[in-house]
Symmetry: D2
Subunit: 382 residues, 4 copies
Amino acid sequence: MGMVGGGRDAFIGQVHRIAAAIDGQIELVCGAFSSTAEKSKASAKDLFLPDNRAYGDYEEMIEKEKALPEDQRMDFVSIVTPNHMHAPVAKKALQAGFHVMSDKPATFNLEEALELRELVKETGLIYGLTHNYTGYPMVKEAKHMIKTGQLGKIRKVVVEYPQGWLATDLESTGQKQAGWRTDPKRSGACGCMGDIGTHAENLMEYITGLQITEMCADLTTFVEGRQLEDDGNVLLKLNNGAKGILHASQISVGEENGLNIRIYGECGGLKWKQTEPNTLEALWLDKPVQILRAGGNHANLSESTLANVRLPAGHPEGYLEAFGNVYKNFASTLQAKLEGRVPTETELDFPTIDDGVRGMAFLNALLKSNESDQKWYKLPTI
Amino acid sequence: MGMVGGGRDAFIGQVHRIAAAIDGQIELVCGAFSSTAEKSKASAKDLFLPDNRAYGDYEEMIEKEKALPEDQRMDFVSIVTPNHMHAPVAKKALQAGFHVMSDKPATFNLEEALELRELVKETGLIYGLTHNYTGYPMVKEAKHMIKTGQLGKIRKVVVEYPQGWLATDLESTGQKQAGWRTDPKRSGACGCMGDIGTHAENLMEYITGLQITEMCADLTTFVEGRQLEDDGNVLLKLNNGAKGILHASQISVGEENGLNIRIYGECGGLKWKQTEPNTLEALWLDKPVQILRAGGNHANLSESTLANVRLPAGHPEGYLEAFGNVYKNFASTLQAKLEGRVPTETELDFPTIDDGVRGMAFLNALLKSNESDQKWYKLPTI
Amino acid sequence: MGMVGGGRDAFIGQVHRIAAAIDGQIELVCGAFSSTAEKSKASAKDLFLPDNRAYGDYEEMIEKEKALPEDQRMDFVSIVTPNHMHAPVAKKALQAGFHVMSDKPATFNLEEALELRELVKETGLIYGLTHNYTGYPMVKEAKHMIKTGQLGKIRKVVVEYPQGWLATDLESTGQKQAGWRTDPKRSGACGCMGDIGTHAENLMEYITGLQITEMCADLTTFVEGRQLEDDGNVLLKLNNGAKGILHASQISVGEENGLNIRIYGECGGLKWKQTEPNTLEALWLDKPVQILRAGGNHANLSESTLANVRLPAGHPEGYLEAFGNVYKNFASTLQAKLEGRVPTETELDFPTIDDGVRGMAFLNALLKSNESDQKWYKLPTI
Amino acid sequence: MGMVGGGRDAFIGQVHRIAAAIDGQIELVCGAFSSTAEKSKASAKDLFLPDNRAYGDYEEMIEKEKALPEDQRMDFVSIVTPNHMHAPVAKKALQAGFHVMSDKPATFNLEEALELRELVKETGLIYGLTHNYTGYPMVKEAKHMIKTGQLGKIRKVVVEYPQGWLATDLESTGQKQAGWRTDPKRSGACGCMGDIGTHAENLMEYITGLQITEMCADLTTFVEGRQLEDDGNVLLKLNNGAKGILHASQISVGEENGLNIRIYGECGGLKWKQTEPNTLEALWLDKPVQILRAGGNHANLSESTLANVRLPAGHPEGYLEAFGNVYKNFASTLQAKLEGRVPTETELDFPTIDDGVRGMAFLNALLKSNESDQKWYKLPTI
């Protein structure tokens, strides 16, 4: 694996590195970690990489790696830059024949996402997207339960993503994470909704297998002077007739990283929250609530869930392990490809460019709906 | 106290009786408990009332009680009938000079509510409305914290009221509670939103001191054949610029009586849920989360909160005690009136006809917004 | 009902009054509320009692009430004094032919308890003891589940009762509740264990149907100058071979009223805590954890549990309602007696003098075990 | 790092590998993974190790690695065998000049532990022991709070470690983990207490900085035919006068891995449980309960805590990350040694042979106390 971005001071780069390393399948062999060759080399040194595999920029990295003998060069590129660079790096990598694992959102805007989808199709290469929250085992169990009809027809979904860290004008203090996330040039046309709202959308569609068809959005910028919205409330219609609520916020004081979802079907319901990710609450029409737990053989968890669990019940796995599952399944699919076999459903269980396109379409629609006086905005089919 | 409704098989009548009795201030002395004199007398007997204070209907009760000497007759009327009878009984009672405690909603529709407000003003009598969830001590503490500025300017409110008991066509089985609640003739033009959505609205406005100015509603009837909506999702604008989400549901399978609220201001947040009512979670910009507990002297609870607490922390008080607080404060206000003194702010802390009017206006607006293609519906000033 | 003790400033007297009133079956008709006639009359006035039913002391009350015509006098005596007065009042009442409801502990020491048991037997009168925590519906459900074999043979029990309110020398500040509870003359030979440890013992024996046969106790007084122990840790052997741990504390800073119990059998386990009393957690060998909830028809609660529930699931009942269940079942048993019929098992489900004797024997044994160098102290059969 | 044990089917070996890899500081370079050379090589292949670094047994590994040039050979040995092999491997490694990281318990019995302590001292090499639960950040915060006096003098400690997986005769089914843990030849003289009771003891002493001076133990074997105890209840006296309770169980049906601790001092208390490890509850004499969260800058966490955190609050870290902290600090200390500098206090914050000796002394004392009729057994000073 070669990494673009993720030098010193970056947050998500280190997350990707741990996630990739955790199962011992993937080795970081090179990187273009920073905007200058010097900084990139310093980061490489921190990571015990040889000097000659630290590149000054992503173009150099992709070209020079391509020039290496096949058994020495990186297998895929991991993209952990701010949003505006995702698409250019991904394109370049795919065009050079490298598989890609990209941080989300896939691209800066919908047009880029559609182009990228084309390119992935054309090249036949593997493209993974770290909508990491779908990597949690109990999220997979929720998906399995719905897919196998245990909840009956889904009627209502409530997905929330409250955070509080941008409740004040943090970007003015020079805080790097706040800086690029509130800057339309680096983040895109959405702030809060692009950063975390898409995770909520992706989680909801992943678990339920349903798609948003119409929405009614109300986006707000609460912190004075901020250029992008920091809060959004959205009503949803889903493609099976279900109704939904999605809201995300970065000004919900005191909230940490509170992604959570509740789903109600005709005969059962589910509740899951990211801060206690190993628990899935199952509610029933005519039985007591059940507490399903990751790793628990008592819960008769599905095989696909267990394939994403490393430890027995009660040994908490967390954010890094879920992130690691995205990498693990991506790597297993890549391995299958190298071995010339068809990947299993479990191996293929990681977010792809299709998730990326839906995410960008969702953001696009949010902006249009927010500006409209009409109640419902229909998402175009793409 | 004389009661109208609440005979055998009724649910809320017994709740009102316990709530009235719990503090030893109020005595049930008569009632028109049922639709027939015979049934009413049977209920009266169950309640250890003398036969001659069991009336065949509310008109008889009010007239005959009025004819009794002042020191023998009831002081006020408690109305616990289905919704369509609230206004007629209240009017009759007020016109006869009796104070009124009514179950919510105040009336069957907005017009009646406005009329009733006039009548209350004219007569100068006391009118209480059992929006009982505002009777919880930690709800009062939340109100106090916001009123005293501890959270700063409020930005976002999320209030939810999920229930699951109407997830199936229960009304067809003959279940009495389901029957009248899903019948537009007895319940009014709203189902779920009238039954519980108004509680959510009232709780939110009570705690925050804010009012809804605009809304965008999406009401749904999920159970086939049902005449009234059983689920509703609403976006809100509040009169200080805050944004909100209100949703209520009676088809959220497995949910019991899950009223809850989250409020985020510029420098603090609050979380409260009715199923664990003695806990109030306080979130802060720059301090750890605090767990405030009813009865706890550690929490420096306000005087007005403590006036509504009966037990030390850790001795859970519940629904009946909160309901009892509505009666207690109503009775104390009545007592003040009898003693010729001005009631204290704590005594006056119970829902009145103004809450009733706002509730009906809210339901009215919900229906209009739901039918409209426009995103925002402005609530008229009333 | 006539009350002894419970005047102004008392805590538990008001609890008994609410508990007795809550179901509308019991009326307070007289009392000897305080140590002086004057204070007693003042309390009576607060309670809307006529002056001539406020007595100067319990002897006067019992004698004068006995002299009243049968249909006017009180039916039973409720004893809510400090511990040292429980037995004298109970004896006098029984000897005069009045039934008795007493606050716990039954008596000041074991000898008195044994005597009282004799007297209850002789008189054939009803004696109730407010080990109120057994009044919670989910405690009754736990008992039912064990009795019907759902957990298999019980192996291990952990019962805890942490409080923190006596972590400092509160009795020196003049606080009344702390005063008598730390005074051996009014409280008895035990402090913490008599006040709350017996509740833990009673709860455990009630739920499991098992009895303590041997114990190993370590009692400690942490607050300097205090005359009675304020913390106790005890290992237990139960009469079916099970092992247990019981600990109670009044110096566990920050704990409110944390009575809780965990029970593990061969094929299932249970967890219950008093601060969230409407929930019972059921653990299983081969199934996910279930959350059983008071009032929930989903949980297939037993009839005896439901008989002690007033509200649907999600409408929290608390301490007063559980306390009320002790009074309700006592009153129903009394009513059965008056009606000349045999009380049902559900009606008879309240603590009696046998619980009182076991409690005193437990405290006696605790002191002996604590003083002994031997590991195990055998409880004599009584 | 070279590993002894941890081949295919092993549980803890994989945990150690992930823990070592997670921060990118440590590389697995060789191993003697299984009892036969063939199996060992198969495991090595799974782990992408070259064939010539897969050894047939630990002796071969240590000798051949020692023969390699210094810059090629392993830096330390990681021991993940069943208990009876811990000491022999550790000795051999230390004698050959290799640092050691060992799974717990350090040795098979106390004598071996004392010998090993001598050897560690003599060689001056680094010896780490994976009492991994002390690796959790909020455990470190608890230690910090007590050390800095925030709780005042500690009075009472309750530490529990309930599990349920051995509630049935699992060892008879051929389950490997159950097999060696219930076999005195491979596990040692203790079952449950050696496997998990020592974790409880270590956690308690680590957090409080106190030591057990006397104990009163009651060990039980509940499952028929089992050779070692599967449950233990212990009363404790600590060296500052505090009292304690420690209990561990493997027959507590439905419990997963429920290690938890509660500590009460004169002016504050703390609660932590392993299944929700990122939360530390702080209780106070005169303030509301606070919820301290790993990664939260709101909580003013200590520097030493933050050094063991990888992610912002709300991004849950778990068992592997805590385990990784033991490796990280061990590796940093090793790095300091290589760089010729004195390790910082934070770097030295990992369990050592002293913890190992205390653990074995604790187990030794448990057995003696359990067999004794005397209440208190004094731990000898070692």
